[in-house]
Each structure stands twice: as C-alpha cells, then as structure tokens.
Symmetry: C2
C-alpha cells in the first residue's frame, strides 16, 4: 500500500473541520490512508507572523461568510461559536494520548470534537467537555483522560507534533501532504484527489 497522507489541522480551524469531513474518502478512493495530525495553529501563526483569519479586518469578514457558504455547498452543519477562535490545547492533547492507545478511536474522537464545536456549538475549550467526548468515543475512563491532558509527556507530544508540522512547512490549517507534495486549504481537496489519481503534474 502506498504511503499514508498527512492531514495537519487545528480543532479550532473551520476549514480544517470542512476538510476533515472529506479527506479520508478522497484518500480511500486511491487506496490511501490518512494520518490526522492536529497541531497548535497559534504557535504556527506566531512563527509565521500571521494571525487567526477572524482578526483581519477584511479577510475576517470574507472568511466568516465563506465558511458558511462552503458548508452549505457541502451540505454539512456549520456554526461559528461566540468563543471563536477557541483554545484547543486540551482537545489536541487528548487526541495524542488516545492515538497512543488506538489510532482509529483517536480519529473518531477528533471527528466528534469537530462536530461538537462547529456542528453543535459545544464549548470544546472546557476540559470537562473534552473528557466527556474522549470517554464516550475513545472508550476510555474519564479520570484517565483528565490525568492525561495534564501529563507532561502528553503535553510534550503535542508540542513535538506542532514543532514537526512547522519544520515540514505547515503554516495553516488544513494542510495536506501527499508524497512530499503540500496542499494548503480545504479548497485544494479536489486537487489532492486529482494528484492522487494522476501521480501529479
């Protein structure tokens, strides 16, 4: 089987959410798996000298309109909760801890976090919410998750994941790497599909 695709994203990224709904299907069409790699977009932005989209005066207005428009086009639920952009550090730590036990369940957890926030407007910045979703979707004990997200080793996993993303050139979310070829943005998923099908151009 050909090498897996890397899917870099932040749980607080609307375009990451939209891409998360399709990326595995796109890859599966071509016999590929996808490794989900959440990273701290705030740290990425700091390195790059950029900010969350919502903070730019004109791009921020466009981006909000465009997210809703793109979600309508895809026929998927979407909302932008009042606390956007959210602090996703706890959810991302929980992901890496779950992934150490079971990568498939970690991905199920990731989908559930995205749906909870952008689909239902739940406050996934709260540790209790993250722990509840992790326990339900990851089939793990709540106390174990709560301990894990405060564990230095787990914190280090997320920091390393973020450092590795930056070292690989990731500057936004979603950011997809196929055989060393990088594609930035949900609106490049069709191009990823074409690249996988043709082997590139």
């Amino acid at each position: 089987m050909a090498a897996p695709i890397d899917f870099y994203f932040d749980f607080g990224s609307p375009y990451g959410y939209l891409a998360s709904l399709r990326v595995d299907d796109v890859a599966a069409k071509h016999g590929r798996e996808v490794i989900w790699r959440p990273m701290l977009l705030g740290a990425v932005f700091k390195t790059e000298g950029t900010q969350p989209l919502s903070l730019y005066p004109l791009k921020g207005v466009y981006f909000k309109h465009d997210c809703f428009r793109t979600a309508r086009r895809l026929g998927v639920p979407f909302m932008l909760p009042g606390n956007f952009p959210p602090n996703t550090i706890t959810a991302q730590r929980a992901y890496y801890w779950l992934r150490g036990n079971d990568p498939d369940k970690a991905k199920t957890f990731a989908r559930a976090i995205y749906h909870a926030y952008f689909g239902e407007g739940r406050d996934v910045t709260q540790a209790e919410v993250v722990v509840g979703i992790a326990a339900a979707e990851g089939d793990v004990d709540s106390d174990d998750v709560m301990a894990a997200v405060q564990d230095q080793a787990v914190k280090d996993m997320l920091r390393e994941a973020t450092d590795n993303a930056i070292a690989r050139g990731v500057f936004g979310s979603p950011f997809i790497v196929v055989d060393g070829e990088a594609f930035w943005g949900n609106d490049r998923l069709d191009e990823v599909d074409e690249w996988l099908g043709t082997g590139g151009w």
Copy 2:
C-alpha cells in the same frame, strides 16, 4: 444581459495572472462580461496588516512552489522574475488611462503586461517597458502614455480604484465579485463557474 463580473487584481500577483487567463472564458460561458479592476495590492496589504506572500517564511516557500505547479496544471507559461514582488504602479496607471479611451484595448494591454512579466520575465516596473507595451497593444502614441502615467488625474484614478476595492472588502488578488458575492483566489474560479451556472447555494 446580466451584470458584469468584477475582477480585482494587481499586475504583480501571480495568482491574479493565472486567473486572468481564464476569468473571461468562465464568465462568457454564462453570458457575462468581466470588468478588470487593477488595484495597488501594497495599499490593500497595508490596510489589512498583511504582506506579499513571498515575505512570509513558510507560506512564501509554499506559494512559490504552488504557482509553478498551478501553471503546469493549466499548461501556461510561468516564471517568477528576480524583482518579485514588482512595483506595478506605472502599469496600473497606464491601464486606467487606456480604459478611458477603449476598455477592450485596456484589457488587451493588461493581458500583455501579465504575459510580459510572468510569461517572459520582462521588467514591467520600467516606464519604458510599460509605455512600449501600451503603445503596441493600445494603439496609442508613446509620448501620450508617458505623459498619462505622470498625470495627476490618472494617478487619482488608480488611487480611487484601490480605495474602492478596499471599500468593497478586497484584501487580496485575484478577488472576483459576482452579483455581490465575493470569491478570493485563483483556486476559486471553478466555484465562480458553478455559482454563475446555478445562481448560488
């Protein structure tokens, strides 16, 4: 006939160049015309607090690779001259002056400027180069063009065009507005096509 589409761009924008090669064809499929509206992207970036893509450490690397990749996909000539990002103020003034005489010839001139820079690597920051292209493509006298690009009334046209773009929410190039609906980026041209065909979603 339905209202024309607005195509905002800067002559120094690679993605603007790539979109310029297709935007009129996309519009014509749906019986629409396109008004080309060059504007000073530097002024837009200043308002927005952003920079030319090439100045961002990671996005700059990606963007250079992606422009060449996109040009290969479209099968069009592309290069990034050493003076990128170029100062396009003279070329853009010449455009607005030509447009006052003949909008079609102004568009022909715009295509020629884009091709000269991104297709052939000519230095379109030089007034002599701009004047030569304007005289040839716009069927006007060289001395008249040279006088025009230094004329305060023509300078004001470009400044007003830039102010109007910002007032309309333009924060990058290309930026396409269809019946009040904005689409940013060359990679949204297929979506513009779909929007024109369906009336939106």
